[in-house]
Amino acid sequence: MFLKNKSSALTAVTLLAGFLFLFIGVYRGESIIVFEKAVNICLECIGIG
């Protein structure tokens, strides 16, 4: 039971950290960089840049 709670707690903490990171990233404007990269054809991806 103790182990079960411990691993659930770890999952919860990790998830929380994940969401925190995500929000910090959005706040810092990282999603804009992703967007700008993704809406223009990436020459590196297709092998000509």
């Binding site: 999952t11 990790t14 994940g18 969401f19 995500l22 810092r28 960089i33 809406v39 990436c42």
Partner: protein, 289 residues
């Protein structure tokens, strides 16, 4: 039991195909040789799905990671790290089994009948670590440190290796877009060669790219032991017949380690088990088979 295994595989393939269609639903892109430029591209899909694919409606997380840490403003990406932590914590490499178009592509190639299929070979185990090296060197270190004069790095994994980019973005765009076609050179030849090698190897070996090269699989693998979705062995039921280990195409032995870093949660072992001893839990809640 064989039927059970088949129906599980068919169900999985249906999910894989549906997911691939939904996340690449920009049909106009394929007709016009252009890519989608709408708002959804702010977010990533969990699998390796190139954002330069004409149909892609969202972003590739490995491409996105390189874009952020290669930019002159940031050398760490909270946004993508957070995304990996959330997806990884929920499901680990379940993404590989169900939600990655490039995984589906290799699955289908491996169905091509061939007299000699290779399940394992001498350096199989050690080569599995190569994907972590690819992640560290090509996805993280090179984009951060090899930059131009303004500090802008390049997505080296996309540029030099990624066969998913060549397949999903390169081939359709070069075929459909005259301007792209005229700029094809040595680099495209190199990436095309890698894609052909992956295709040939995928017929012989099950998912060679996932096993040895994919940096995204490498990231999710680290979450397998701690993710909310997990496998466990009911030792009261298991008769140690080893059928699960024999059927696993990723080379895992679920009895020894039900949450191996290599397990893509395809479920083959669960459906072949005569005692239904492999169970899965979600947030530690045991699910009935």
């Amino acid at each position: 039991m064989v039927n059970n295994k088949k129906s599980n595989d068919n169900f999985r393939h249906i999910i894989q195909v549906l997911w691939t269609l939904v996340t690449n639903a920009y049909i106009i892109g394929f007709i016009r040789g252009k890519i989608y430029q709408g708002k959804i591209k702010n977010v990533c899909v969990p699998g390796l799905n190139c954002y330069s694919c004409p149909g892609a409606v969202a972003s590739c997380p490995i491409g996105a990671l390189q874009a952020v840490i290669g930019s002159y403003e940031y050398k760490f990406s909270f946004y993508i790290a957070g995304f990996f932590i959330i997806i990884g914590t929920f499901m680990g490499r379940f993404v590989c089994g169900y939600l990655c178009p490039f995984g589906l592509f290799q699955d289908l190639l491996n169905k091509i009948p061939l007299r000699f299929k290779v399940s394992t070979f001498k350096f199989d185990k050690i080569l599995r670590y190569f994907k972590y090296l690819v992640l560290i060197v090509f996805v993280v270190l090179m984009p951060i440190f090899i930059t131009d004069i303004i500090g802008q790095g390049f997505p080296w994994f996309c540029k030099l290796i990624c066969p998913a980019g060549t397949l999903e973005g390169g081939v359709p765009l070069v075929l459909l877009n005259d301007a792209m076609r005229s700029t094809v050179g040595l680099l495209f030849g190199w990436k095309f060669f890698i894609l052909i090698a992956v295709i040939i190897l995928s017929v012989i070996i099950y998912r060679p790219f996932c096993k040895y090269v994919c940096p995204l699989g490498a990231i999710y693998s680290l979450f397998n032991p701690i993710s909310a979705f997990k496998y466990s062995i009911n030792t009261d039921k298991c008769i140690n017949c080893k059928m699960c280990a024999q059927v696993c195409k990723m080379g895992c032995n679920p009895v020894e380690n039900p949450n191996s870093l290599e397990c893509i949660r395809c479920g083959k072992c669960r459906s072949i088990c005569p005692e239904e001893a492999i169970e899965y839990t979600f947030f530690n809640e045991r699910k009935k088979i």
